[in-house]
Symmetry: C2
């Protein structure tokens, strides 16, 4: 006798015989219901909630007799782990009448992982690596197939997985684990549809009652950040970052390329260092998450082209000179052993996102995967600021990309009182346009410097310097308060009317913070700092402008600021400075660490990899280094043409163009040449 | 205007326009004509010989005007390297009239490599790895594909090779080599049709004017033998062997398995040792052949199951106990890096032939590939004697296989005066049936011991012991001369009538060689030696007999003796001893090192790999260790039931059954038990 079964939320429905397990019905209908043990009542991944009552929408009425009674296997699992109220195991629950069954999100393989940023789409889980519990035939002298071959047969018969191979590190431990599990094992199978490969990459005795993990690694020039991600739930269980130890070979990318160029074995030394740092990071992550490293089965890397090459062990020297040829631009699959990553099992799978061009790397590809300009109806400008700024401009019609050498000033480097964004760093600045007196906030305190309790709140952390977002606000505020002229020159005490403007060699500097406490440093903004910020902001603006030229537009609809810097920067101040093209402030959003998010998406969803490979193939690359118009834009963007409007008019202000293409000063010319040499 | 062009020896023919290069015509007709440079006049692989005169068979008459004149490119090559008389470069020779063109063997890709053994088929060349000369587009900032991607595009356009990837060690050096070659490079592409993978595994600047090589490696328990083989010509350019350093962990396989079982890390230590020995062997081979190791691109391994596992780094303990389960039985592809073989480039491709069963390894598979019992109309018994004997029995209907634990006696080990087959070892023995006096030959001298000049000829090398073939002849001759009885007991001086029979504890030994020179050892055959040979020959015979039982036959048509031992053994004496079933002597042949030949075939012909994988899948495995009839046959085969027939009647003798299934002596019983323990 057959009964109507309706699954929610999918709405899939079908007729099934009395006694059919719900899991089997779900599988027949293609309902997304997870199972690792294949219906043996071991894994509990197939939890469902039968619904009772009238369902006019589905044309069915369900009573308690429609389901089999709670059985011993369910009771055993409930005693051990606890089942939520009304939950049943789909493999144990037999259909006995018309039925409506709800599949909760955590029982779905292709569940949605909620992303924090409000603007972002959620991640749909579709990991490359999945666990399968399988029962293997024992060896038989008269049928002398190897243990691996019998395991493969079992996977084919019990899970319909064919065309399978196995990594050598798995084969090495296969025999002892099969015997330890008494011929029942859980295997991790990594399947890459585009490569047409399925590979067993790990194995455990019996049912493996633990999660498996992947790493989303954002390998930056300065910082290596890794997110240890549960490959079933998509949750980031632990994140951590370490300094990129290559810094001792050169602060920025080009100095590392120079190091490789000048020193025999230099590239190799940097490769060894960064791999060691990754190993340490992975080991620390596993320890602090209290998980076994054997459960980490994948790592997805996003990085700029120089880091990409140095990770792979490729000498990056071609990236230091035109035409900036990548050794390889497409995405790459490897095993951990290929990279000598000792923290991972040999067969752990490595995926590197494709690079867009010699200056626009897999990190920019990851931003594109996360922010999807190619799916935006509006023309969106996406800016990821680091030592280089990656800039994407596009919509559903077309996506352009470039990289602009902003230098490290936006990160607080090469600034006289600059420092990284850490406790004690000034991160917000306001300057009263009348009194020219500043107030500020430091990281680690919630109070402004003129609020009661501020001194106490900063006693421990101190006021140690100014970080990237702080210096941008400081310079913008100085301009608005009339402490700077259009060319960026700091005025004398006489001109500005404040003793905070102090002679400093042949120029002046602005005293942002002084203290009676001898242990605290005075923090000032020097003429050199202003010049560094002007260089950086001109490079960023010029890059964006170049893409707009290429796109043939004068204005854009939206700006997305990506990266840690983008998350902390004040859009208002960025626009006063002229870092980004004018757009109304409500259309400027922060995407957080979009590159890291892109890595997570590629880790959690195998189809996303194919998707970004396709998107990257269609992105038009614009090369800033050889484009004469970039120089023009760069020089023209050097000035800070803001008038001393009061702060209250800012929202009005930012909607009018703030760049004038005036004649070049001698200084601007010099800066232009300097930039050319660096490129 | 079109002309008829006929290619010999293929007979392929077609009509071509005036001016068509012969290479192009050949490619269009599918004529097997080699080219690495793609018709650019660089590689000279496409040499052909135009034929002139009347060819009634082809219906064509050719005169000198049918071919373009000798050109500057041909002259340049001729000046540099010399072309054989009448040879032309197929890419330069243009068709100008009806033409007959001969493609010499060395210009064919699929050329035949002549094998020495008369009985054997030749090897058809069809290597997995081939060279391609290719011209790559220079990088373009506005088309920012990586160098690898442009190389792949070039290979697709110029050679129609698609679905290509590249090994990481190749990608690492890609950029410098493309620039060194000014965007012309030669790449080695490894294509495995069954795996659907083509991979660039090495790259050289410009046209790579050197051969590429593969290694056929026979990884034995005692010796590792490697043949450095030209992958284009199929010629073995250098062969060498080293002792397997695992000997210090255990002489025979089972003692190595025991070592792994008893010592933590024991298997790993043996793996490290054997890989080191392979590395050293490869380095030595490359040095003595004066070739660059970068030109070695493949290695094919054949080995028994224990060596197979130890090479891969798999603990072999399961192979030491029933049911003798292999970790993996199918053929395996790896990269050199996977095995940490440092003598080879990381991306060099490794292929291991499949294993037949836990006791019958890839070495037996290689013998099957070389000797192809599955293609024999006659029922053929193939015996490969080492520390274990691998035995195959089959014809086009069915092939059976087993392994029999002969022990090392046939290799001269565990024999009182035994030694390896090396200069100074007695290798041939005759005993006069009347006088009971021996004569013998030693390795390193062409003379028999009773010939004039023998003493001089052995002065330097000495007479140091007796090797495997020598001890077999000695025991057989002793039996024929009446020095041994049917049970294998050596007679007393009184019974045998010769003082060479000397008391030796409670038994007697036969003095084969004595010397007045105190520096030379006396060489004798002891009762213990006879017992060791009886054990070994019984095991071998019992294995063959078991296969015959399984096949349901009482007799066989042919015997092939494989292995170094098989090449030196005297079939007559082997049959007197009862090592092999009776068959007329002219049907006993030696196949030489058939396992090594199988490795060479798999190295030179990619289709042969698919073929042996299929053959192995169809071989029926018979397990000697658990088959009660094996014990019966073993015990029954222990006797040496020969009568003291005169030598001249030998040929008659060997055609009658020489085994009687008589009652077991106490001693036989003991031996049976001893064998059981070893198994």
């Amino acid at each position: 006798m057959k009964h109507l079964v309706v699954f929610t939320p999918s709405g899939k429905r079908g007729q099934f015989e009395t006694g059919t397990p719900v899991l089997e019905a779900a599988q027949k209908l293609g309902v997304d219901l997870d199972s690792v043990c294949g219906g043996r009542g071991i894994c509990s991944k197939c939890q469902v909630t039968p619904s009772f009552g009238d369902f006019p929408k589905h044309g069915v009425s369900v009573d308690q007799s429609a389901v089999s009674t709670w059985n011993a296997i369910e009771q055993r699992y409930h005693d051990k782990r606890g089942l939520k109220p009304n939950r049943r195991l789909g493999c144990q629950l037999k259909i006995q009448g018309d039925l409506v069954v709800d599949v909760p999100a955590e029982s779905q393989v292709h569940k949605q992982v909620i992303r924090k940023a409000a603007s972002s789409r959620n991640i749909e889980m579709n990991p490359a690596t999945k666990l399968y519990y399988v029962e293997v035939l024992e060896p038989d002298m008269h049928e002398p197939k190897g243990d691996l071959e019998r395991l493969k047969t079992a996977l084919s018969e019990q899970w319909k997985i064919d065309q399978l191979d196995a990594g050598l590190s798995t084969v090495k431990k296969l025999q002892s684990i099969l015997r330890k599990g008494e011929w029942s094992v859980t295997v991790a199978v990594n399947s890459i549809p585009s490569e047409n490969i399925s590979r067993i990459i790990n194995i455990w005795p019996g049912y493996h009652d633990a999660s498996i993990y992947g790493l989303a690694i954002d390998l930056g020039s300065t910082t290596i950040a890794a997110h240890l991600t549960d490959l079933s739930s998509g949750k980031v269980v632990e994140s951590s970052g370490v300094m990129n130890p290559q810094i001792r070979f050169g602060e920025d990318l080009m100095s590392r390329v120079s190091y490789a160029m000048i020193n025999a074995g230099g590239a190799e030394a940097m490769t060894v260092e960064v791999r060691k740092a990754i190993d340490k990071l992975v080991i620390d992550l596993a320890e602090s998450a209290s998980i076994n490293k054997e459960n980490i089965l994948e790592a997805v890397f996003v990085c700029n082209p120089v880091m990409h090459h140095l990770l792979l062990g490729i000498d990056p020297i071609e990236l230091g000179q035109a035409p900036f040829a990548l050794a390889t631009s497409e995405s790459i699959y490897l095993n951990a052993k290929d990279l000598n990553l000792l923290s991972l099992i040999d067969d752990a799978r490595i995926y590197l996102l494709p690079c867009i061009a010699g200056h626009v790397g897999a990190d920019a590809a990851a931003v594109a995967l996360s922010e999807q300009p190619n799916k935006s109806e509006d023309l969106v400008l996406i800016v990821d600021v680091g030592t280089n700024a990656e800039i994407l401009l596009g919509n559903t019609e077309r996506v352009l990309a470039c990289s602009s050498p902003t230098g490290p000033a936006f990160e607080g480097a090469q600034i006289s009182s600059g420092q990284r964004a850490a406790p004690g760093a000034i991160e917000r600045v306001e300057i009263d346009p009348i009194s020219k007196e500043p107030r500020f906030k430091v990281i680690g305190s919630e109070l402004w410097s003129d609020e009661i309790g501020f001194d106490d709140s900063t006693k421990k952390i101190g006021i140690t310097g100014i970080c990237g977002s702080g210096i941008i606000e400081a310079v913008a505020e100085m301009r608005v308060a009339g402490l700077l002229d259009e060319s960026g020159l700091i005025g004398s005490p006489e001109a500005t009317g404040t003793p905070r403007s102090k002679p400093d060699g042949r120029t002046y500097s602005y005293q942002l913070h002084t203290s009676n406490d001898a242990s605290q440093t005075a923090i000032q903004v020097t003429q050199g700092d202003i010049r560094a910020i002007q260089l950086a902001k001109s490079a960023l603006y010029a890059g964006a402008k170049l893409l707009m030229d290429e796109m043939g537009v004068d204005s854009i609809d939206k700006v997305v600021l990506a990266g840690a810097f983008g998350a902390h920067i004040s859009s208002k101040h960025a626009m006063i400075l002229g870092m980004i093209p004018d757009v109304s402030l409500e259309n400027v959003t922060s995407a957080g660490n979009a590159a890291g998010t892109g890595a997570r998406i590629a880790l959690c969803n195998i189809n996303a990899r194919a998707s970004i490979e396709e998107i990257v193939g269609k992105i038009t690359k614009v090369e800033t280094a050889v484009e004469p118009k970039f120089q023009e834009h760069f020089v023209a963007a050097n000035a800070i043409p803001h008038k001393t409007d009061p702060f209250t008019e800012l929202n009005k202000l930012v909607q009018i163009p703030n760049h004038s293409f005036n004649a070049l000063s001698e200084k601007n010319g010099k800066m232009g040449r300097r930039r050319r040499r660096r490129a």
